[in-house]
């Protein structure tokens, strides 16, 4: 059976900031966006809609690849790199 994506992310080091480095303007998701690309382009599977239909992102497990940002034509994401000592730290890659 394939390894769960959460288990894969569990192999990486994430140093957690107190503030999210990705903020979603859900208004844009619900009015302008037509493809919900973030739901299936993210290689860490971090995006999901909550039970109220709002787009959410589990930014803590972000690999900082920026794919969601590049694929989000409606520009619903305010996306920056985590600052200071935070974010993913690869030990091999």
């Amino acid at each position: 059976m394939p390894m769960k994506i959460d288990a894969k992310l569990g192999l990486d080091v994430f140093k957690l900031d107190k503030e999210p480095h990705i903020v979603i303007d859900t208004e844009v998701c619900n009015t302008v966006c037509t493809d919900d690309a973030c739901l299936y382009v993210c290689p860490a599977d971090l995006y999901e809609r909550d039970d109220q239909g709002r787009m959410t992102v589990n930014w803590e497990g972000c690999l900082e690849c920026g794919t969601c940002l590049i694929c989000c034509d409606p520009r619903a994401l305010s996306w920056k790199y985590p600052g200071g000592p935070y974010g993913v730290q690869y030990r091999m890659s």
């Binding site: 394939p2 390894m3 994506i5 894969k8 992310l9 192999l11 990486d12 140093k15 493809d35 690309a37 739901l39 299936y40 382009v41 993210c42 290689p43 860490a44 599977d45 690999l63 900082e64 690849c65 920026g66 794919t67 940002l69 590049i70 694929c71 034509d73 920056k80 790199y81 985590p82 600052g83 200071g84 000592p85 974010g87 993913v88 730290q89 690869y90 030990r91 091999m92 890659s93």
Partner: protein, 429 residues
Amino acid sequence: MERVECIVVGGGLAGLSAAYGLAEAGVEVMVLERGDYSGAKNVTGGRLYLKPIRDIYPELWDEAPFERPVARELVTMMAEGAHTTVEIASDRFTAGAPQSYTVLRARLDQWLAEKVMEKGAMVVPNMKVDELLREDGRVIGIRAGEDEIGADVVVVAEGVLRLLSSAAGLATQPKARHHALGYKEVIELPPGVIEDRWHLNPGEGAAQLFMGECTKGMMGGAFLYTNRESISLGIVVGMEDMRRRRDGTESWQLLDEFKELPQIRPLVAGGTVAEYSAHAIPEGGISQVPRLAGDGYLVAGDAAGFCLNALVTVRGMDFAVAAGHLAAEAIKRAKAAGDFSAAGLASYEGSLRSSFVLRDLETARTIPSFMENPRLFTHYPRAVARLLESVYTVDERPQDGLVKKAWKSVRRDFLNVATVKDAWSARRI
């Protein structure tokens, strides 16, 4: 405002290469790196073509922490249920000075950063740059948190997302059409197992690329590089194709499905996944290279779009090192002339144009649009498999002769209007 002569934004291979050349020439240089160390935020597929850059900083490479010199090259065309692999093991890939090595960035970049510091440059980890400071259109320094630091020249080696240069209006924001997502697992395997599985002499490495089924017809492919005690196994998929896809396929599942294929399973059997990583890749080719130099700044590495996916060779890190070196050369000239304006730094672009960096990107100008042809990832892998399946198949019926079998297959799959058109558009790649 505190000042240094040169600030390098980004401690990857381009930034470190620039800093090495500058520090060696006694230029005061400070590298700002987001990660815990250089390499902590970087991802490679895995292979560095060393041959093009061996003569740049020749004293460096003999002690570089490479994984394995690549002695064996494999390309696998994947149709559903049938994989065709073309393989070459050539003495000339490894004789004397090997042309390419598999690498892991956490090791490689961290080592290079130490070399840069030995030359007298300052490399500051855990330091994210928040803004390129501009005055009258000229880049005059950077802001990191609350601190503003001035510089005669800023080397923008910030990586593929170009967050700073696009915010400063020096480049456009990256577009899905010109980018691919690459992601991989590093899977630990004992060295002896790696050598047995890929038929390698001790210490030697293999590079294997896959195209076809692994991306479900989307632009891209899979890759496998053998490291010393692990393999890097991953997927590259065009972002535009991926987001246009509406069949429920999620990007991260492609690798799992790939690993489960009966043809791939034995390659990873017994391995332990040790890391999972992802990165965007600039695949727009030369048409997407931004302005490379302006008043007070130069751009290098992924931020400059210096990356070339030519189907069987995938390059970027060698371009980064070369561009960093040429940036350092241009800055040294600008310093001698006391002119860090666009005119003073213009020799950078000139030397890139006469180097392999922009020449090879120019040669490959048509590849990005050629690769938008979906038949490359669907029809051709299938056609090759059908051809070989037909000549290798023996059943209860009377068999055609070998040539007749092959000819039937060639006529059906390779001689039609579409393939002739494809051949025509491929004539210049």
